[in-house]
Each structure stands twice: as C-alpha cells, then as structure tokens.
Symmetry: C2
Subunit: 500 residues, 2 copies
C-alpha cells in the first residue's frame, strides 16, 4: 500500500481516537455523571475537540491529501482507498475554511443563547430568546460565507449533515409530499377514531426494559459489542465498531415510548455495528449521513416495530407480561392503538403520519431565516399559522410552539430535514427489500429477522461512509431519494387502520 | 499574576484535561465496557497517553519552567505558585529522562509478560513466567539508569510513588515494625480464637450495597460530586475535584468485603473531593502520594469502620437489616469477628495485623531483585520461606505464592511499600486527631463524622500535592513517618480482642 496513505491513516487514526474518546465522555455525561462533574467535563471535551481539530487541519494532512489525490487519480473511484481520500479531502476542505476564532465565538454566543432559550421557554416568552436567535443567525450566515457560493445558501448547512444533498432537491421532495400528508391527516381526522387508552396505563418500567432488550436481541443487536443505559434523551453512540451503545428512557405517561425508543436506537446501533471492520480509524468509519442513519432507526422502529406481522409474533408475549393492562385488548386493537394518528403540538411525540409535517414546517422557517425573508419577531406567529395549516392545531403558547426545540439555540440549523428524509429512505429501501426477500412478512411473523439484517448489512451497513447518501440510495434502489414509496406506505397502512 | 505562569498553567491544564479524559475511559473500561470494546479502547488510551506525554514534555514547558524558577526564586516556597513550579519541574524532569522508545518497548514486554503471568498462574508454574520477569527486570534497571545515581537504585522507583521517600527510610521503619508484628501474630495464634462464622453466611448484595451507601453518606462522601458502581477490583478514580467516583464488588464467600471496600474507597474519594478547588488543572490537584492516599482509605475503613464506637452506632441497624444472619450475635462478638486475625496466603484478603507483613515480604524481594542479589528462579522458594517466617503459613503452590499478584508482570515495581506506609500514616494522624478533637469516639458513637472530616480537609485534603508526603506528615504530626503509633494501635486493639 502507498506509504503516504499509511501516513495519512496514522494521522487520521489519532483524530478518530480522540473523537471516540470524546464520545465516551459525552455518553458518560448523559448517562452517569453526577451534577458536580459538568463544568470540568465541558473543559475536557473542549480540550479534546481543540486537539482533534488541530491535528485534523494540520498542514501535513493537507500535503498528504494533495499528494494522494494525484497518486490515486487513475485508481477506481469505487475503491476503498479512493473513497477514503475523497471523504478525508471533503472534510479537510470544510474544516480548513472555518477559523478557530469563529468556533470560539460560536461557543460563547450559543452558550448564552441556550441559557436564554431555557428562560424563554420556561416563561413562554419568545422575546427573551429573540435577540439571541438573531445573533445565532448572524453566525450561521457568517459560517455560510466561509464557503464558496452554492445554489442556495442553505445548501452549505445541509451539506454538513447530508453530503451532496441540495436544498432544491429537498424542496421538490417535500412539495410533493406535503399536500398528500395533509390530505391523509384530514381524511383520518374525519373518520372513526381508534382506541389507545390501554397504552396509557401504569406499566412497569423494568418489564418494559426487559421486553425491549429481548426484542432488539432478536433483531440482531450484538450485546457483546454494546449495552443499553437510561438517559434523559435516548441516543445511540459509537466508540468503535465493536462498542456501540444505546440509551432509552421511561415516561410514565407514555410507557410504550421505552420500547419503541429501544427499537429506534438499536436501528442506529446495528448500522454502526455493521460497518466494515477494516474502515476503523479511517474517514469511512460510521454511517454515511443523518438521513441514511435515520432510515435504519425508523425502519426497525416503524416498518418492523409498528407493523402487524411484528406484533403477531410479539403480542402474545406482551400480553402475558402485562396481563392486567392489556386485558381484553385484541391484537388488532393493540396494533391500531400504537399507530393512532393524532396531530399534536410536539414533534418528538408525533406519529408516523404527522411527523414529517413538523419537519417541513421547521425547514421552511429555517430557509426563510437564512434567506433573510422572515423577521425574527414574526417567527411565533408564522409557526402557529403553519401548524394550523399543516396539522390543524394551534399552540396555546410559544413554549409549546416555536420555543419547543433546543436546536436553534445551539446554532444547529440545517439538519431537521434529515429526519423526514430518513423516513422516506426507510420505505424506499423497504420496497426494495420486499422484492429481494421473499416472504419477509412471514419471517417477521416468526420473529426471524436474520435475512433482513443480512440484507441491510450487505447493502447499507458495511459501506460506512464510502458512498454519499444519494449515491447509496440510487445504487441500492435504482433511484435517488423520492417520496412516492412513503406516500404509498402511509396511504395503505392508514387506509387499512382507519378504513379510508 | 505572572504572564509566564499563566502560560504554563494553560499548557498543563490541557495535559490535565487529557489525563482526566483517559481516566473516564479507564473507569468505563472497568465498569461498563462490553467485551468487544477492549481492543479499540486500548488504542484510544494509547493515543491520549501519547498526546498528554508529548504536550507535557514539550520544549515550551521546559523553557517556561526555567524562566519561572528564576522569576519565583525569591518567593515564599510555601506559596501555591512556588509549589506548582516545584512539582511541575520535578515531574517534567522525570518525564524528560525517559525516551519514548523505552515506553514503547516497555509496553511490548509487559504485555507479553502479562500473558505469561496469566498462563503461569493458571498452571501454577513459575517457570513459564520467569524469563518474562527477567526481561521486565532488565527494563526496570534500564529505567533506573536514566536517572542520576541515588543512595539506592530502588530509590528511583520509590520516588515515583512516594516523592522524597528513600529506601533506607522505609527499611528502618519496616525493620522496627516487622519483629513486633510477627510477635503479635504469634501471641494471637496461641490465644483463644474469635468466632466469625456469622460473617460467611448468605448476605443480600443489594442490602449490603445500600448499607455501605448510607455509611459513606454519613462519613461525608459527596454524592453530588461522585457515584458508586460495581467493578471486578474496587478502585477510586478522579475526573475532577467535583467528579470523584468509587467502585465496590460483591464476594459471596466474603460478603462484608462489599461494605469495607465501599468505606475504603470513600476514604480515597473524600481526599480527592477535598483538594483546594483552585488547584484544578494544576500540578497540585489530587492527593500527594500513594501512602498518604492509603492513609485516608485505611483510616475510614479500619480506624473508623472496624472500631467499636463505629459499630456501637451502626450495629443495631445492621442487625435489623440482616436479622437472620446476625441472630444471637452480640455487638462484641460482631466486633471481634470483623477483626479476626488469621495469617493467610493472599495479601488482598489480609487483616490489619498481618497485612503489613505481606508488604514487607514483597519489598524485600523487590529490593533484592533490583540489587541483583536474587536469581529469578529462586524467587518461589524465597517467597515461601519468608511466608513461613513472617506469617507462619506455607503456600501449597506458586499460584497462591509468588504468582498471586499481577504487579510484577506490568513492571510495577516500587510501590508496594506505600500500602504499608499508608497504614502507619493513618494511625500517626489518628493519634494527632484524637489530641485535637475531644471526644472523637463519642462523636463516632453518635454517627457524627463532621469534625473528623473537617480536620482531614483542613490538615490533609485541601493541600493536594503542595507538600511532599514526609513534609506533610511532619507538618501535621510533628514527626516524619514512624511505626510507633501503629504498633501501639495494634497492640492495644488486639490485646483487648484476644485478651493478650
């Protein structure tokens, strides 16, 4: 192998080690850390982040990349080596453009904005947050200015999370999707509602936890290379391909969330556990984008975990575990209950039929903000108007409206759309999977997920970041990300449930 | 403040951050990590260790230290600034002397030696380990050669763990101590034995855990700046002065170990929690030496936790918690049982009266090894001879003799004596404490540890590494480390228990 490629790998391997160490610290912060530990932990993470950044944008890395681009110019672009050089170059060029002073300034501004957001949400008073949001937005625009002009300024932000994806592409997809989802929700609203009172009883946390563990064990989540803990906000995190952890939480008023959250995070985790072991410590390690990642979590949570075949297998066991809570509840009733559509104010609790609309609303506001087409002070009203238009509900106050999400306070603008794209990709893959695997429903009905996971390993997981998301989806399904499969899926599923 | 001192603090602060990050990774490795995570974790730790070392021995650090030594030449040596410069210089000079190639070679040799030790202990065959131990010993001698000649070659090793302490000092202390401990044990052996069958019954792990938590809460261990987890080998670890964690373990055949181990580690932890907050990220953060650290853990475990006043307070509660196991057991019987003296083969299970003898045996062998006065092949016999002489027992095989401890395989030669020194310091402090605090026994009898912890905070904890151990002990007690208080303590305690 090329001597220079070995040198590059050694340098980037160290960066990867530092970033993974930081992930351990971040995990501990969410899962274990006593309250007193926060201040020092912030410093530890800042130091690791600074060192990783310094090492990554070192001139030596740049020189090696330049040399390697020449050396590998004639090599098959689909080779691992060419992909590594391509991805490393892309990330290097991006990182080089952002001055360290900017990163420091951003840390200060967003830290203050976060505090203001907490206060504003507590008092449900957007005016407390507004001046901070304006400063955050200025920084976002400054960030965009470090990069060459794109077709749309929002492209620069989106590209950080969904490499190669354009704002225009997302708009086309969402413009096609929105009216159909709005229409579907209206049809559901005017039909006979399903029961789900049995889901909101008193469920034992430990039993739910154990049930979730059994389910994802059957999925194929490898516990010898992972573990589950409790955290306030469920997440998956990767320390290496052989140590990929998940968390879940327990909500008394919504107990089933424990179970679905475990399934969701296991989808992320199985993706990470399935990446080619040879990619460790290279730029190709880990999943290729947020949308593809979300396609895996949503597939296991929704396409598998909220499907009828899945519960044909697991419901008898669930009913045995929670005999009093589910007394007299039939499989059909239970299945309908966990798929109840209910336009609601809060995104994170939204069902499959309404979730994307929350995302579209945010995306439209973000684009308008970046374009400078909306005044910060007008955001609450705009939010409420769109909520009414898309979901038919109106927030009673800003805390349950424009202030509900933490993201903007941290300057995290540009990735909301990946949540919705993930839903689309999950079903787009699902249609292909159901062509490739005969009788998948029957397998799921038997609790057999081996062939499904094998398909995902082979077609998605193993590739890590080798392919950009649109290329990967195209390679596997024959077309780029498209909303039609998702619309077909929603129409069929909810048509049956609500008798539309 | 001096501009250069600020520069030094910034550089050393980063090193401290990296080392603390590594501590988090090490803690996770012992407490949580799934089996698959080990290989990558080793790499992550190696990378962090390498970066911390590079940053610490950077020429810039050396230049700043040289300048600062001049700048602060006239400053009160007892000032924090002078202490920081002194401790940083000492550590810097040491670190500079050891070439990175040596560290790499050591890693390879000890990794193989560890594997050989595992096999040798499994087969109870010292000859498998012997050639590796010889290589380790060569490295130890090479390490010593990097430093200027000391009074004794072992001094160089000891100084890494007990700054300022000399082999000759330890020898004097141990030579005075050994015959008295041997004599005591013989007297105990020929007197009426105490009962402790009630300690080896079936105790519920969770209840023992909870009891231990209650005890150390009352001691003053601050849970808002710490937590306890399970680990195969109990330890304390520090991520910052505000995040100091402990672990414990459960042994079915020795259930009380859970409780005493929690108390022991809480002693280490309260030391770390009590260091001056202003020392964070400086060379003065954390305890000053292994012996002083051990004095704190042994004080809470033994001088408090195995005392009669302590159990006068806690025994009724323990008896309530474990009513069937302790049925008919009186406070006196219980107190004697937990203080039973029984010369045994394995150091880690040794009681207060015999523990130091295990240490002395090892120290003598280590010194002889470093002096080249013993052939590796003769170690097993020498071990057994000394065991018979000091403790009156003979190991049935090498696994329970010379091969029992992991330390030599890792090249960890030079710190065993600190365990015994810690015992001595604990009682030396204890005598002073009992002069300073009137009615301490009565306070303990009431479960009130506030004044005791306050004394330790003021006299020991807050100083961190500001004073070398001998200086600290001298400052507080009026003399350097001396064995007399410990002999007085053992004689009185066991005289009462065994009616000598």
């Amino acid at each position: 192998m090329s001597e220079k490629l070995n040198q590059l790998k050694a340098l980037l391997g160290e960066v990867s080690d530092i970033n993974h160490a930081a992930s351990v610290l971040g995990w501990d912060q969410q899962v274990n850390m006593p309250p007193g530990g926060g201040e020092a932990r912030g410093r530890h993470l800042a130091t690791l982040g600074k060192i990783a950044q310094e090492k990554f944008i070192a001139d030596e890395v740049g020189r090696l990349l330049d040399d390697l681009k020449q050396e590998f110019a004639g090599v098959d672009p689909a080779s691992d080596e060419a992909a590594m050089i391509r991805v490393a170059s892309r990330n290097y060029d991006k990182a080089k453009r952002v001055p360290p002073e900017f990163v420091a300034e951003q840390a200060v501004v967003t830290s203050k904005a976060f505090e203001a957001w907490v206060e504003a949400r507590g008092k449900s008073d957007f005016s407390i947050f507004a001046p901070h949001l304006e400063k955050v937005l200025e920084l976002v625009k400054k960030y965009i200015s470090f990069f060459p002009p794109a077709d749309h300024p929002y492209d620069t932000l989106l590209d950080d999370f969904e490499p190669g994806m354009k704002t225009a592409d997302v708009k086309v997809i969402f413009d096609s999707l929105r009216p159909k989802q709005v229409e579907l929700i209206k049809a559901i609203a005017s039909s006979k509602q399903v029961k789900d009172d049995f889901l909101h009883k008193n469920y034992n946390e430990k039993k739910l936890w154990d049930f979730g563990v059994d389910v994802v064990t059957q999925f194929g989540y490898d516990w010898s290379r992972g573990r589950q803990d409790k955290a306030p906000h469920p997440f998956e995190t990767t320390f290496s391909v052989n140590d990929v952890r998940i968390t879940t939480r327990f909500e008394a008023e919504n107990p089933m969330a424990t179970l679905f959250s475990t399934m969701h995070e296991s989808g992320h985790a199985m993706y990470e556990q399935g990446v080619n072991q040879g990619y460790e410590r290279t730029p190709l390690e880990s999943g290729t984008s947020l949308a593809v990642h979300e396609s895996q979590s949503r597939m296991w949570e929704n396409l598998v975990g909220r499907s009828l075949p899945f519960w044909e297998h697991f419901f008898p066991k669930l009913k045995k575990t929670f005999s009093s809570q589910l007394d007299g509840v039939s499989l059909k009733t239970f299945y309908k209950g966990i798929n109840k559509v209910e336009p609601s104010l809060i995104r994170v609790n939204a069902d499959e039929a309404t979730y994307n609309l929350h995302i579209m609303l945010r995306l439209e506001l973000e684009i308008a903000m970046v374009e400078g087409k909306v005044k910060t002070k007008d955001l609450p009203e705009l939010w409420n108007t769109k909520m009414k238009e898309y979901l038919g509900v109106t927030p009673p106050n800003d805390a349950k409206g424009v202030l509900q999400d933490i993201h903007w306070s941290g300057g995290a603008i540009g990735y909301f759309s990946t949540y919705a794209l993930g839903n689309l990709v999950s079903v787009q893959l699902w249609e292909k999977i159901n062509k490739d695997i005969r009788g998948l429903d029957d397998q799921i009905r038997k609790g057999d997920f081996g062939e499904l996971l094998g398909w995902l390993r082979k077609n998605i997981h193993q590739h890590g970041q080798k392919f950009e998301p649109q290329t990967l989806v195209q390679n596997v399904t024959g077309s780029k990300i498209t909303p039609e499969p998702y619309v077909r899926y929603l129409t069929k599923k909810y048509g049956e449930i609500y008798g539309l």
